[in-house]
Subunit: 339 residues, 2 copies
């Protein structure tokens, strides 16, 4: 039995789903993997909370984070830096949402975790975009793992397949439908809705954010593509090297024309290596029925890897909600200790 | 740098593809994974061959296995048992084709490898069907790996996804198109061919064996399903517990009726757990366009895992030839040493 301390930053939908999953799966993790994962502390921007027992999380999850009439449980004096005890080799789980440009506060948190000798598992994309090479090297030097499945596809196992299942193969191209909101919009438009109608519907169903610009302008797809392609193809591609076309320009004529040929419009992120040159783009493309992502509809995602020895390998599906992303965090933790 | 001795049994299409891949990838494996894989000996039923250098394999692969006018290089006095040096912790790679009922000679070879302290990576299904639990326990006790990706989907990464990407999730059902020959036949029948015509075509193109019974009667699908489902769902299912319907019974009427509903006929292996009861079957089923395996056509394969936390995750594709299977063997070897 391996006892592992867990410290969690971020207690929004994802942080709560992750804490809940730890409780729900505790018994099976002990039995199946010999892993006793113990959530020791949780941090939010307003303060921290040390947990004396797993049951304490249960109470926190049942009620609101601040039960009516009770004092706020989050204590600004309980600090992340004090919880990440040097050399404890637990796992620091980052569920914060950081600034898209600076990667903060996540970047600082992850640096702290690694410098204290903790493995890091993160769902926060921005720190990885801002400082992936630095963080990867820092983890590598100390023999620590930096797990980021939850940031790069969540329950869609893009990174595992690229790094594990295709080990030894050269990945010559990566192509993916990596954003559920825009795929939903295109699916509904193909069924007859116009852009504004499909977007409004996605917002009403909680699929799209009130401000959908990150999705429909392509930044979300580009960031996931960057993380996956850099890891899978051994690149050091930067965000500004990806040619991004917003998907807002799709016209009814485009749809009609694709439909006539039996093709489907998909908002694809694609990185390919051709004669040593890298080309990276995010744009709406028409793909034929034989394309492995042709039937990936609605909020589903999918990714195809082209290789030199294994042909084209495609992964699709994966629950795209906080529970699915929490399961991806948990998977990364299990895989740290599995061998 | 880790130096790893490799001993190979079997030198047919797959064994040769594997030996060739080791040569081709030697440089990249050193650079990317710090792995120096050294093929030390090869065994066939007629004898063994010790290799003094990697170049020796090159010569063997270029010519016939017995160059005209030269003495046979395979020496019956060179024995597998002498090459698997006790405690060397190299990798024994099994590319033989064993008897479907007894699992021999592969079972004896794999037992020997494990007992001598060698990791085992195998493409040979029959020994796993005959003795999986025994072999798994024997490997586990000694801290050795028994890799069998190449036997359970080859370049389609079914096992990695089940064991790695879905770690922590409960897999409630596994459903797959696991045989390329029968999927090709059904695809061609949907396009208008009759069964005999489609089968003849598959044989002419080298997709189907001269004796296609293992494929069309469902045993090949059942065996792969067994290996994947047992590993993925933690079962100890036996082959005789799988209800197998040959796919030869598909009629033009079945195809017509499916087509009318916009459905496709697929030869599916399926294991599901329902209220604690396991149900396992191989049969032709009609699936709707929204099914993630709907568009898996021709010789392509695919597998869907249903889970409690990550939804449905599907993998499709993977090159289905000796090179793809050899790449799966190599992948298993890399992953033994990667952490």
């Amino acid at each position: 039995m391996i006892k592992v301390d867990i410290v969690l930053a971020g207690f929004g939908n994802l942080g709560r789903a992750f804490a809940g999953l730890l409780l729900e799966k505790h018994h099976i993790l002990v039995k199946r993997y010999g892993l006793d994962l113990r959530l020791r502390a949780i941090f939010r921007s307003c303060g921290g909370l040390k947990l004396k027992s797993p049951a304490a999380v249960g109470g926190l999850l049942k009620g609101k984070t601040r039960p009516a009439g009770k004092p706020c449980p989050w204590d600004p004096e309980v600090r992340l830096s004090a919880s990440l005890v040097r050399g404890a080799r637990g796992v620091f789980v980052a569920c914060t949402t950081s600034d898209g440009r600076t990667g903060e506060p996540g970047l600082e948190h992850i640096r702290l975790g690694l410098s204290r000798g903790w493995h890091v598992v993160t769902a926060d994309k921005s720190p990885l975009v801002a400082g992936f090479e630095e963080l990867r090297r820092s983890a590598g030097k100390k023999g620590l793992t930096l797990g980021f499945s939850a940031a790069a596809g969540a329950a869609l196992p893009a990174l595992d397949v690229a790094l594990g299942s295709l080990a030894g193969a050269d990945i010559t191209a990566v192509e993916g439908i990596l954003n559920g909101t825009t795929n939903y919009i295109l699916t509904r438009m193909r069924e007859g809705a116009d852009f504004d109608g499909a977007l409004g519907e996605a917002q009403a169903r909680g699929i799209a954010e009130p401000d959908p610009s990150r999705d429909i302008e392509g930044r979300d797809t580009a960031v996931k593509l960057l993380l996956i392609a850099n890891a899978a193809m051994g690149l050091e591609l930067r965000l500004e090297e990806i040619e991004i076309e917003p998907m807002t320009g799709v016209s009814p004529e485009d749809l009609l024309s694709a439909d006539k040929k039996g093709e489907a419009l998909k908002y694809l992120g694609r990185v390919e290596r051709n004669a040593g040159k890298i080309r990276a783009e995010v744009k709406v493309r028409a793909i034929p029925p034989a394309h492995p992502l042709f039937a990936v509809n609605g909020t589903n995602k999918g990714i195809t890897f082209l290789t030199d020895t294994m042909g084209a390998v495609t992964v699709t599906g994966g629950q795209s909600d906080p529970r699915g992303a929490a399961a991806a965090l948990l998977k990364d933790i299990i895989n740290i200790y599995r061998r």
